[in-house]
């Protein structure tokens, strides 16, 4: 196809995402805070769509958080990445899909730096051989897990049981999308839509019936900042950046926030709780806050998966107002049950932020 005019410009921002056969690497943060999101990423891609996505128990952290907290040298981080590539090569795969944006940035930075400085790639190969007796081929393609859900957004829409539509008014739900810095800002040409028009999340939200809000601080960082959150003394930085975003989006009355990076939903969710404890202020309607979802959780809701199987009960901001708007059924009695419906009590309640 020959693209012209705006079509040509837009085509420059697109990614040709391979259709199948992926080597999967997990996310430290997503496993800790949104474990069911990884379960349903595989559930959607493997079980529902029949894609081949392989995971080995032998892969580890990519070291990205330790690297961006400046606690390990660049060569250490790159050699850990090279080991993941070796596991991929040994398993017979060429496409790598990462569940984490910092990992996606880390893998991409490694490959791009090796491209600029081939002698560094040779040194990392020697390091890996000395340390692990492993060799590797570089991946043909590196994707973030959201790239696959974006690619399959139409298939998900075709199977949708619920839409991002207010059941009472019939209006599309107002969606804030938060793209995640290390997806689109470090190497813009590697993300769908680049840095200027990132559409990996907005594409999903619109395909599932929602309307995306454009607000002034749409591209502002969530405020993780690695050492700026991990060290207790620095968390003023982190909450201040989230506060800036919420003040900016508030006049647009978002119904929900959808996020790309595994860390961002944690911060956008938890800092709402902290801001309410510090100032008494809550965002969203009636004191409930604005629900923050991962893209896997949103896909799961659209597909009719039980909200408590998706892990929405381990968010601090209540999701029930969103479920009510979408018409998603839920059982309040089973929300906090453990494995095999075991009674494990309930969490305490915040002072100001309302919970269901």
């Amino acid at each position: 196809m020959i693209y012209q005019g705006k079509q040509k410009i837009w085509s420059d921002y697109q990614k040709e995402i391979p259709d199948d056969h992926w080597f999967y690497v997990r996310s430290c943060i997503r496993q800790n805070f949104f474990p069911a999101s990884e379960k349903y990423f595989l559930g959607i891609c493997r079980d529902m769509l029949g894609k081949d996505i392989y995971e080995t128990e032998h892969h580890t952290t990519c070291g990205g958080i330790a690297y961006h907290s400046d606690t390990i040298p660049q060569e250490t981080a790159m050699t850990i990445v090279a080991r993941q590539f070796a596991l991929m090569t040994e398993a017979g795969y060429e496409n790598l899909v990462a569940s984490c944006i910092t990992s996606f940035g880390n893998y991409t930075e490694t490959l791009e730096t090796w491209h600029e400085f081939p002698e560094l790639e040779e040194r990392i190969r020697e390091n890996l051989w000395k340390a692990c007796r492993r060799e590797f081929k570089k991946p043909r393609y590196v994707a973030h897990a959201s790239d696959l859900i974006y690619k399959f957004r139409g298939e998900i829409a075709a199977r949708a049981k619920y839409q991002l539509v207010d059941r009472e008014s019939g209006e599309p739900l107002r969606v804030v999308e938060h793209i995640g810095c290390h997806y689109s800002k470090m190497f813009p040409h590697k993300g769908v839509g680049g840095a200027e028009y990132p559409c990996v999340l907005s594409g999903m939200a619109e395909a599932w019936g929602g309307k995306v809000i454009d607000y002034p601080e749409r591209r502002h960082c969530c405020g993780f900042g690695f050492r700026q959150y991990l060290v207790k003394a620095n968390r003023g930085y982190s909450v201040s950046n989230t506060h800036k975003k919420f003040e900016s989006m508030e006049p647009f009355h978002p119904d929900l926030i959808i996020t790309n990076c595994p860390g961002c939903p944690y911060f956008l969710d938890r800092w709402q709780y902290v801001i309410s404890e510090m100032t008494g202020k809550t965002y969203g309607e009636n004191g409930y806050g604005i629900p923050v979802l991962t893209y896997e959780e949103l896909a799961g809701l659209v597909l009719g998966i039980d909200p408590w199987d998706l892990g929405l009960q381990i968010h601090q901001v209540a999701v029930e107002p969103l479920l009510n708007k979408m018409g998603v059924p839920y059982d309040p009695e089973t929300k906090y049950l453990g494995l095999d419906r075991k009674d494990i009590m309930k969490p305490g309640l915040p002072t100001f932020l309302k919970c269901c």
């Binding site: 390990i72 003023g236 950046n241 494990i344």
Partner: protein
Amino acid sequence: MGKLYDMLREDYRLREGLKTCINCGTCTAICPAAEFYRYDPRKIVDTVQRGNDDEIEALLKSDTIWYCGECMSCVTRCPRKNGAGLVIMALRNLSIKLGYFTESEKGRQVWPLTKALNYNVLNLGYCVHPSTFAHKDHPESGPVFEWVLAHKEDVYSRLGANYGGEGPGILRRIPQKDLDELKAIYDVTGGTERLEAVEKFSRMKAEEMGMSIEEYTEYTFEHCSKGHFNNEEQ
């Protein structure tokens, strides 16, 4: 150009991040750290670009280089394809290598970060793990996560994890032989040497400040002096 500048130039991140800065200040305008901290990436890049060793040494010993959150928003916006965030990473690397990081409050935080993160990586195979995430250190994680941590096995298993189990899956136990490979990578690539250097310099500083290493760890993790933020009086 001085010796410290030459050492910085050895870092690939500096070579990638500093080509020809025109001092336009776009990086500062877009920077989430500059919004709240007394921090100006334009000035830092300019200082490095001048190549004066005295100025660079002062920078390596200052709080300033530790304010960046490494979000890399500056990379996207620079009209000359520089990356102030990458320059910061190179500066931090050199500050740690030379032991200068203990000269500033924010620099001293390298110790609790190094200790916690690398314990997780080398012993568990994760950067973050529920078994070492204490609610008392993370009250912001809310009552809901306090409940999750109190019922880890139940909650994670309920949500499809293979918590502490063998084989693949969410929060699985990473096999010892894979952890041994990570340790070997640290040994070969300077990671172990880095951990030892950070510990050595931090113990020296703790002694100088009249603290045990445990007190120093807690103090550097929790203490924030006045004067770091834009909205504070000078």
